[in-house]
């Protein structure tokens, strides 16, 4: 059990961050990642449109499950989207994404050199993310 991939997409649907978090995760080329991110963004719009009931918030997919992994997505009000894939039966993914959002707010958004909607290349964000992932994986594996 553990996390596999983390993606961050900006509100226009382009990829601003991706990270492979485990050896189990598939090998994806940078091109694949860009492709997946924009597919996901487009799909979210369709998913909302296909809703049989009117929606108040207009999140799209929140959890997606397949036979080999689960995906959890989180979209705060600002329109940025975070999604993470993990092994089956991994719990508390929503809480993990919320923690990721907190460090995103702290170390990316508060960084004066970061330009909005551009790919994230911030050392402190990466360091904190790594710490968060390790902490999470340890808790899951115990």
């Amino acid at each position: 059990m553990g996390l596999q991939y983390l993606f961050v997409i900006n509100k226009a649907g382009s990829l601003i961050f991706d990270r492979r978090l485990s050896e189990n995760a598939p090998q994806l080329s940078p091109n694949d990642c860009l492709h997946l991110a924009s597919t996901f963004h487009g799909m979210q719009l369709l998913v909302q449109q296909l809703s049989p009931e009117p929606s108040d918030h207009g999140f799209g997919i929140v959890t997606l499950e397949t036979e080999s992994y689960v995906l959890q997505a989180y979209r705060p009000e600002t329109g940025v989207q975070f999604f993470v894939t993990a092994d089956l039966k991994t719990e508390n993914l929503a809480a993990f994404l919320r923690d990721v959002y907190v460090i995103y707010a702290d170390y990316v958004m508060k960084n004066p050199f970061y330009e909005l909607d551009m790919p994230i290349k911030v050392d402190r964000w990466e360091a904190h993310l790594k710490r968060l992932v390790d902490k999470y994986n340890n808790r899951v594996n115990v």
């Binding site: 596999q4 597919t39 009931e53 080999s68 992994y69």
Partner: protein, 141 residues
């Protein structure tokens, strides 16, 4: 707990059957909706297979949004069964019922019907009433 609707697509994307129960937002254009649904499934399937650690097991089983859950089952022949329920029915158990719909309703009342031409729309009363009663008997209905 509610079941909203059911779609059945063949491998080419033709909607063989659409049936709805209690959905409150009615469709403006059914054929548009079916095309969008198939397009979304197509994208979703490619997306999820690509992200899977084991490509053979990457087909989605269900997803949940803030309002609904979509359950997905596909056969090796390319038939796609889709059941849309309220979001609190998001679990693998509901998805398994689609296998039963395939075996007990589709095979029995469409495939075994001598008048049924493969790939055409299924509008036999017997098939639809069996589908209806099967879904109504589900615990999540």
């Amino acid at each position: 707990m509610a079941v909203y609707c059911f779609y059945l697509f063949d491998r080419t994307g033709t909607c063989l059957c659409y049936y709805e129960w209690n959905r409150s937002r009615s469709l403006q254009d059914a054929s548009d909706d079916q095309k969008n649904m198939f397009g979304m499934l197509f994208a979703l399937r490619n997306f999820s297979v690509k992200l899977s650690p084991d490509p053979a097991k990457g087909v989605p089983t269900f997803f949940v949004t803030d309002v609904y859950a979509l359950h997905y089952f596909e056969t090796p022949t390319g038939l796609r069964f889709v059941l849309i329920t309220s979001h609190d029915c998001g679990s693998v158990d509901v998805t398994r019922h689609l296998t039963d719909i395939y075996a007990e309703v589709y095979v029995e009342y469409a495939i075994k019907n001598p008048l049924y031409v493969k790939g055409s729309k299924i509008d036999y009363e017997l098939f639809l009433s069996k589908l209806d009663s099967y879904v109504r008997s589900l615990p999540c209905f």
